[in-house]
């Protein structure tokens, strides 16, 4: 067996060309996106900008408005939580189906090989459909079916996030050490058991923290969907915006920040519990 001895890094050329190609692709994209940092600092623009921001101050802290915000916050949280719960119901089976390291047919003989592949393929397509269409589009569609109110928002979140969670769940499970699950499959265990006893102990922390991050995203998404009439903080914000009431908008934004902080905190606690 003869081996070539290199004096130079044999990968250098490849790395260099990848960097050049990335730049060549990126530059026209920046142009196309009309990305112009300096426009931000032009005097006329700055003036518009500051005028807009000045309206935000001071935040509206009247009791009657705060009561309204509280009610909308609870609605938003309920929407996000219900949406994520439904999304998980979809994502867990889908994620398990497409996780390759849990494939029994891979580690040896099985007559159902083709069927297993087909079902993985179908599950992937379904996931793509669910998450490929933005939640706002789903919300617009569902508002037409269910009328104005949170139900459309909940379902829109469930559908899109179900697809996303399934994808990321399966990716987390793939990157886990798969030997324990494989060993369990080799002693005749089912996929569900291989998952529960072989993969979950290692992956639970990451799965939980990603799910909570998605919950945080769902809180934000439910706000956007409020703009199309799906209730919650978004709908309230839409009204304030339309009435050009900056102080109300800033109160709502502060509530958002608090919610994100809360999500961070919950994530921390759960991760500590699982560690």
């Amino acid at each position: 067996m003869s081996r070539t001895l290199y004096v130079r890094d044999p990968d250098a050329l490849r790395r260099f060309s990848v960097a050049v190609i990335a730049l060549v692709i990126l530059w026209p994209m920046i142009q196309l996106a009309q990305f112009d940092v300096f426009a931000l600092f032009e005097v006329s623009n700055l003036k518009v900008f500051t005028n807009f921001l000045i309206q935000f101050f001071p935040p509206n802290l009247q009791a009657s408005f705060l009561a309204l915000v509280l009610k909308a916050t609870i609605e938003t949280l309920a929407m996000a939580t219900a949406g994520i719960a439904l999304a998980m119901l979809m994502a867990i089976p889908l994620g398990l189906i497409i996780t390759y390291s849990l494939s029994i047919s891979r580690i040896g003989p099985a007559s159902g090989h083709q069927i297993a592949r087909l079902s993985r393929y179908l599950a992937r397509m379904l996931m793509l459909l669910l998450r490929g269409i933005p939640e706002i589009v789903w919300a617009l569609l569902l508002v037409r079916v269910f009328g104005l109110g949170p139900i459309a928002g909940v379902l829109a979140i469930a559908i899109t996030y179900g697809g996303m969670l399934a994808k990321v769940y399966s990716e987390i499970l793939e990157t886990e050490n798969t030997l324990p699950a494989r060993a369990l499959l080799m002693l005749g265990s089912s996929r569900i058991n291989a998952f529960l006893y072989g993969l979950l102990p290692g992956a639970s922390q990451e799965l939980a923290s990603y799910t909570i991050y998605r919950w945080e995203c769902a809180v934000r998404a439910s706000v956007v969907m409020g703009f199309v009439g799906a209730g919650g903080l978004g709908q309230l914000m839409d009204q304030s915006m339309k009435m050009l009431n900056g102080s109300e908008v800033s109160t709502i934004l502060i509530v958002f920040l608090l919610l994100v902080l809360l999500a961070d905190y919950i994530s921390l606690i759960i991760r500590r519990q699982l560690a």
């Binding site: 324990p180 002693l187 005749g188 993969l199």
Partner: protein
């Protein structure tokens, strides 16, 4: 006549990169038999075990395991077959955050109905069973510890305890004592042998240390360059045969405690 545990007929196996790992293997073993497989690294010991475990498919030839052809049966039958084959891995494939008891109980996942395995995640369905398996391996006090608190040798013994708990008809062990000191190695091998004998199961172990193989196993198979170099009772394995077997390692026989793995 005793039941056949496994048999190979003209079996060859090549890796997907085209490298031939085993060629023209003809061999069979009966229930209750204990066999050690020795040979230098890369001689095909692991491939041989994986073929019996039916996780690798032979390129040519046919294999029968516990009276069935694993490549001709349905998924359900295969799962049942696998629950009767116990594997001891060189590095115990156990999630670090799992408790010892859960890791041992997992040995029966292939035999339990789903509700039982779900229940066991909430509260262990069997405590005395795993405990007695660990007891044999001098590890009973670690039953409720987490696996990441154990040393490499202890973890390897948890892997052995899992297979004891599984109680299969066919034990396959790939370097089962590589991380243990001589005393524990002997204890572990002895434990596996006794368990296999008492239930009339077949026990096949690939071993790096020649002296362990000769001390404990009645039948020795020497693999060299992917072929069976000899297949003899331990008493007939001579020093010169061993020297030939390990020719590629400059005639130095790998013994217990020697560091080159």
């Amino acid at each position: 006549m005793k039941k056949i545990a496994f048999s190979f007929k003209n079996v060859s196996f090549s890796h997907s990169n085209g490298k031939e790992a085993l060629r023209n293997i003809n061999i069979s073993a009966t229930a209750g038999e204990s066999i050690a497989i020795i040979g230098s690294s890369g001689s095909g010991k692991t491939s041989f075990l994986n073929l019996i475990a039916s996780s690798l498919r032979p390129s040519t030839g046919s294999i029968t395991v516990l009276n069935v052809d694993p490549w001709a049966i349905s998924k359900g039958q295969l799962q049942r077959l696998r629950s009767q084959i116990g594997l001891v891995h060189q590095a115990a494939p156990i999630p670090p955050r799992q408790r010892v008891i859960t890791a041992v109980l997992a040995g029966r996942l292939g035999q339990w109905p789903l509700w039982r395995s779900l229940l066991s995640l909430i509260y262990p369905v069997d405590i005395t069973g795993p405990q007695s398996c660990l007891q044999k391996l001098d590890l009973a006090d670690r039953l409720f510890d987490r696996c990441d608190r154990l040393s490499g040798g202890q973890l390897q013994r948890v892997g052995v305890a899992r297979v004891l708990y599984q109680a299969p008809h066919l034990f396959l062990a790939d370097e089962p004592v590589s991380a243990m000191d001589p005393v524990l190695s002997d204890l572990t091998i002895q434990c596996l042998l006794e368990d296999a004998q008492s239930r009339d199961a077949c026990f096949v172990a690939s071993l790096h240390a020649v002296d362990i193989a000769l001390r404990w196993f009645p039948r020795i198979i020497g693999l060299r360059d992917g072929a069976i170099f000899f297949d003899l009772p331990a008493s007939e394995v001579s020093e010169s045969l061993l020297q030939q077997l390990y020719e590629s390692e400059r005639g130095e026989l790998p013994k217990q405690g020697s560091t080159n793995l």
